[in-house]
């Protein structure tokens, strides 16, 4: 049991498991194993043990907020199944195995929901994307990709993708969209503001949505959202439900996650003088304040 949790903790710490989608699925998997295999007597006991393990996972990588979200969902599922069982049997006591099976089924259901959430979001695409619109996005987000492709089946529109240095995930996005016959323009991050005046709508993905509606989103999101605000362009954020976190951003820097500066300036290219004198900062995420976001689209 501990091995399973510790294994995920190690992989979270090393960022071998990263991104809300994978973290959500892996966390759900671990919790299912705990429900199935660990020793517990009643619902409260099980919920407590899930909470403890969930806290371990969260501590391993504070920025992967999906871990806690899923933990809380599972605890909620346990309580719900307990209530259902009590209501069904009419007595306060019930079979432990019934609860176990019901909870495992519920977790399975939740996992399916997680896996289908992108499809659910993209089914709303036609309500938001209209013909001949110019849409801007950045990064490589599965929901945004699917959303645009879904709309492209019926509508004709243009997409401008910021390249999203230094990961250049925007380039992947542009490639993927162009393969679905979408009219794509790839621009550098620096020209986001310059191009914004022509854009009808900004569609972004996100890593997490915090309690106040602020986003923890790939670096560059803040620039794009701020530029959109200047031109009064609507910013639409696609978010799966497991990305909604109850965390409140008291310290907005906490979610930056500075990565190795290697992507910005290669270790081989720099001289000692440079390293000594300059801090190279390469955060993985931006914090986007809530007032920059116009609309959230979820898989509900």
């Amino acid at each position: 049991m501990n091995t399973v949790v510790q294994n995920l903790v190690d992989r979270l710490r090393r960022r071998q498991v990263a991104g809300s989608f994978r973290v959500a699925l892996e966390t759900a998997k671990v919790h299912a194993i705990i429900v199935r295999g660990s020793r517990w007597t009643d619902a409260a006991d099980l919920a407590a043990s899930i909470a403890v393990k969930g806290a371990l996972l969260q501590a391993a990588q504070p920025v992967e907020l999906a871990a806690t979200n899923i933990t809380n969902r599972v605890i909620g599922l346990i309580r719900e199944e307990e209530r259902n069982l009590i209501a069904d049997s009419g007595a306060a006591s019930f079979n432990r195995d019934d609860l176990k099976n019901n909870v495992i089924d519920a977790i399975k259901e939740m996992t399916d929901e997680i896996e289908n959430s992108v499809a659910n979001i993209s089914s709303q695409a036609l309500e938001h994307i209209h013909s001949n619109e110019i849409i801007m996005t950045l990064g490589m987000d599965a929901a945004v990709e699917r959303f645009l492709k879904e709309a492209a089946k019926l509508r004709k529109f243009q997409v401008i993708v910021a390249e999203t240095a230094p990961s250049y995930s925007g380039q992947q996005m542009a490639l993927s969209l162009s393969q679905s016959n979408i009219d794509v323009t790839l621009i550098s991050d620096a020209s986001i503001f310059a191009v914004m005046s022509r854009v009808n709508k900004v569609i972004l993905g996100t890593h997490a949505v915090l309690a106040n509606g602020g986003l923890v989103a790939p670096t560059g999101s803040n620039i794009i959202a701020a530029a959109a605000k200047h031109y009064a362009t609507p910013v639409v954020v696609l978010t799966e439900l497991y990305k909604l976190s109850q965390e409140y951003p008291f310290d907005v820097d906490a979610f930056g996650v500075p990565m190795s500066p290697d992507a910005i300036v290669g270790f081989a290219e720099i001289d000692a003088d440079v390293v000594e004198g300059i801090d190279v900062v390469n955060p993985a995420y931006d914090f986007v304040v809530p007032d920059l976001v116009t609309l959230f689209i979820t898989n509900m």
């Binding site: 820097d253 290697d262 720099i270 003088d273 000594e276």
Partner: protein, 685 residues
């Protein structure tokens, strides 16, 4: 059917090959002395985490399943550390990875460690060989994959070295340990490898190399990460060649230079990830900084890879644990790591430093570029610059620690005392038991703890506690590559100060040191050649060689040592003159050996040089006799046609005013007159 089952088993074994790694947890040198008297290098903290922890985490992240930790010095410490760490082979814990300590007391080198492993037959497939002080986040699986594909096609590709490209001024280059690689970029084969030290001006490449490799690169920009992917043949080769000690110096060179073995060594160049080894205090410094600058991500303090730490980061690269107590006016400027339960007093400033757990730092303290380990106490008004203060070091009020110092475990200094730069202090006495010639930095000859409580107050201050540590390696070191050893020793001493910092004047001095040192070695070389020239000439005098033969010999030496004619003149002239005792012997000597000088002074320019050498020789104290004879010598040279009139005039014009010039004045006058006369004669004719 039993046989079938067996086959199946075999197949299974081949399918899921266990990926093994060998950590040599001994450095086999003394760079970190006296710190390593108490603790092996791999357990010293780097950014408050034992170095071996980085190595193990790196291997674990790369999916290594079995790790053999070969330890020699302080093996008990390493063993007990591993037992209590999260890597311990307990059921139901984290480890997907099995860490097995192997203790062997007789190891003197990496070579011995590998021979030991070969004897135990523990390794059954390709393995990763690293030392216990690697910090890396490189993509090891990719390098492994490359190695395996190569090996599937060619069984002779026995090893892959991991190297990293870097500019010459890169701070994580281990100064003094750079190598020159001759590589074939097409096949990733390393064709030749040589250490840059001792310095040589030539690199010889066999012409045959170009037959098999149409393109070769000679590169000096590669940092040796000392991560090797080895096949099982490697330990076996070490066993066969029992004189291989160092994996680079002996093994790699041996394999590459051997025609019989036909084995090949390949390389893997890292471009976008990090890998480095804590080879010296200089590297300790630069790797610590790289960790703080997050080059090693995800191995950074706030990832908390080391169990039970609680670091968090805030800009600009300040890492603090949960229980740090900072006075309101204390400032952590940038690039600082502070451990749990450490207190920093009012008006203290810390920059570019790592502070361990449970330290107490007083008021008005300045700490820059230093590494202060757990439990150190630093009194008010102290200044610590670019030094290492080990566990439980106590600085009383008003102590200044100048750059490059290392204060070992439990040393106490002060009050109001200055520790001079590059000092090494130890709480244990460096007793000179010259019989003990252990080269290990982790030598265990510390059992004879001195009970003598009289500490040297000149080194540690009035209330201090500790001795000055001087490396007693010099006496018992019989390494034939003396130059290199000296060079490295010099590097070790000033290593802490050698991270390059433009704004640091002192550092420039350090660089100058190294330059002058290089010059020195060149001069040594020159002196040696000169001595050889002189002895050749003297032998010729004794054995009465002909001028022809002697000239030939000198010419040969000149080519062999890459000398100039000037060098020959410089040695030949005093040698010849040494035979001259008074005016009488002069003519005979010049008659007999003058032709030699003539040969090496063909034109006017050469003759000017020769005469200058003569003047210098005469002006040197001890040659007063020759000084008196100067004009006579000059005349004899003229008469023997060693120097022509033109040569002498040219010399006289260039010669600075001095005793010799005055002495030569009449002769020159006479010469001029003689010439005029002859001119007149010619005219009248």
């Amino acid at each position: 059917m039993p046989p079938k089952d067996k086959d199946k088993d075999k197949e299974k074994v081949q399918v899921d090959e266990v990926l093994a790694a060998v950590i040599v947890a001994d450095s086999f040198n003394r760079r970190f002395m006296p710190l390593t008297l108490d603790r092996p290098r791999c357990l010293l903290p780097l950014a408050n985490v034992p170095i071996i922890e980085y190595t193990l985490e790196f291997l674990a992240a790369a999916g290594v399943q079995e790790v053999y930790v070969v330890c020699c010095a302080h093996s008990d410490l390493i063993k007990s550390y591993l037992k209590n760490s999260r890597w311990a082979a307990k059921p139901n814990t984290s480890s997907q990875i099995k860490v097995v300590p192997i203790v062997s007391q007789q190891l003197k080198s990496t070579g011995d460690a590998l021979r030991d492993l070969d004897a135990q037959q523990l390794l059954k497939s390709d393995f990763i060989l690293v030392s216990g002080d690697i910090v890396a986040n490189m993509d090891l699986p990719r390098a492994l994959e490359e190695h395996r594909t190569r090996r599937n096609t060619d069984k002779n590709a026995i090893m892959t070295m991991v190297v990293k490209a870097a500019t010459p001024k890169q701070r994580s280059r281990a100064k003094g340990e750079e190598g020159i690689y001759v590589l074939d970029p097409a096949s990733n084969e390393c064709v030749q490898y040589r250490s840059l030290f001792p310095r040589k001006s030539k690199l010889k490449l066999d012409l045959d190399l170009f037959k098999s490799h149409p393109e070769l690169q000679v590169r000096n920009d590669l940092i040796d990460c000392q991560i090797d992917i080895c096949s099982v043949d490697v330990p076996a080769l070490f066993t066969e060649n029992f004189d291989y000690q160092d994996i680079r110096k002996h093994f790699v060179r041996g394999i590459l230079e051997s025609d019989i073995l036909g084995k090949q060594i390949h390389y893997h160049i890292l471009t976008d990830t990090y890998a480095a080894r804590v080879r010296s205090t200089q590297m300790y410094d630069s790797i610590s900084k790289d960790v703080m600058a997050r080059w090693t991500y995800p191995m950074v303090p706030d990832t908390n890879i080391y169990a039970a730490s609680t670091y968090s980061i805030r800009s600009p690269q300040i890492y603090t644990e949960a229980g740090v107590i900072l006075a309101y006016t204390a400032v952590l400027q940038r690039n600082v790591v502070v451990g749990d339960k450490t207190e920093v007093g009012e008006n203290s400033r810390i920059v570019d430093s790592v502070i361990g757990r449970g330290c107490k730092i007083g008021k008005n303290v300045r700490i820059s570029g230093s590494y202060i380990w757990d439990g150190a106490i630093i009194g008010d008004d102290c200044i610590v610059e670019r030094s290492i203060l080990a566990d439980n070091v106590v600085l009383l009020n008003g102590v200044v620690v100048e750059k490059g110092s290392i204060l070992s475990f439990g040393v106490r200094v002060g009050p109001k005392f200055t520790v001079k730069e590059f000092t090494r202090l130890s709480a244990k006495k460096a007793h000179d038991n010259s019989g003990e010639s252990s080269n290990d930095e982790d030598g265990m000859d510390n059992e004879a703890e001195d009970d003598d409580p009289t500490y040297d107050q000149a080194v540690v201050g009035v209330e201090g506690k500790g001795y000055s540590w001087e490396d007693r390696l010099s006496a018992d070191d019989e390494d034939d590559e003396d130059d290199q050893v000296n060079h490295l020793r010099l590097l070790d001493v000033c290593a802490m100060a050698r991270d390059v910092n433009l704004h640091d004047i002192i550092d420039e001095n350090a660089d100058e040191d190294s330059e002058s040192e290089d010059d020195l070695s060149e001069i040594d070389q020159l002196e040696r050649s000169h001595r050889e020239l002189i002895s050749t000439i003297e032998r010729a005098f004794e054995e009465n060689h002909t001028i022809d033969n002697l000239a030939l010999e000198l010419n040969t030496l000149k080519f062999a040592d890459n000398l100039e004619f000037h060098d020959i003149r410089l040695t030949a002239l005093p040698s010849v003159l040494s035979l001259v005792t008074d005016g009488k012997t002069l003519s005979t000597v010049v008659k007999r050996w003058g032709a030699l000088l003539q040969r090496f002074a063909q034109d006017a320019e050469d003759q000017v040089d020769l005469l200058r050498i003569l003047v210098e020789h005469c002006e040197r104290p001890g040659n007063e006799e020759h000084a008196k004879l100067f004009v006579k010598v000059l005349m004899a040279f003229y008469e023997a046609d060693i120097c022509t009139e033109d040569g002498i005039f040219a010399w006289f014009k260039k010669q600075d005013v001095g005793r010799m010039k005055d002495a030569a004045q009449p002769f020159i006058k006479w010469l001029e007159e003689a010439e005029e006369e002859s001119d007149d004669d010619e005219d009248s004719n």
